[in-house]
Symmetry: C2
Subunit: 117 residues, 2 copies
């Protein structure tokens, strides 16, 4: 939890490495288990941009969204475009009970853009 909170949309191997530095030795499996538990408990949010491994973040509860860079894969937080309890109301829910919205904006981050104009 501390590691995820300190980091920024870390993937599992990175978390594993960081936790190992902190603790000495942990198996990758233990990290997966822990992340699952924390996620199930609602303490961690999991995001999975297509084509890249899953990432975890500690900012949870507010439903904010994510900017993902097509070139370097960086993930950045964005607040919700529509306001307060937002995005949970598509025009026509087709009878679905909607629990959560997952919004990813795809684009190019400032760094990558300045390097490849």
């Amino acid at each position: 939890m501390r590691t995820v909170r300190a980091g920024d949309h870390l993937d599992v191997v990175t978390i594993h490495r960081a936790v190992r530095e902190r603790v000495g030795h942990v198996s990758l499996q233990a990290v997966y288990d822990g992340l699952h538990a924390l996620h199930r408990a609602g303490l961690l949010r999991k995001i999975e941009p297509m084509g890249s491994p899953a990432r975890y973040e500690a900012r949870v509860g507010d439903n904010h969204h994510h900017l993902v860079c097509r070139m370097c894969g960086t993930v950045t937080d964005v607040d919700c475009a529509t306001g307060e309890a937002p995005c949970l109301d598509p025009v026509d829910a087709a009878g679905f009970l909607i629990e959560e919205a997952d919004v990813i904006y795809w684009g190019v981050c400032p760094d990558c853009h300045s390097q490849n104009p």
Copy 2:
């Protein structure tokens, strides 16, 4: 293309099966290659809800969104909540050049909901 258009958010194996029925024999690889090409050309849209294989759809250009059922995995189209050229404007783009927004609403579909109330 015809198969994807006829179907409804099909995954690759399903497309493979359907194409094989139509043509006689195709390798899975050929299907992957074809889908990639069509996707690169912008004729097909690829969606990848976390935890499930990729799905393709022919409805492209308008940026509509998707409802995914947590129980059965069904994918349903929804029109964009905010209107015309939508969702492409988060409050603060943090310098990103935004090209596309990917919105997935997670919930329970009418069928599953009526079966497990």
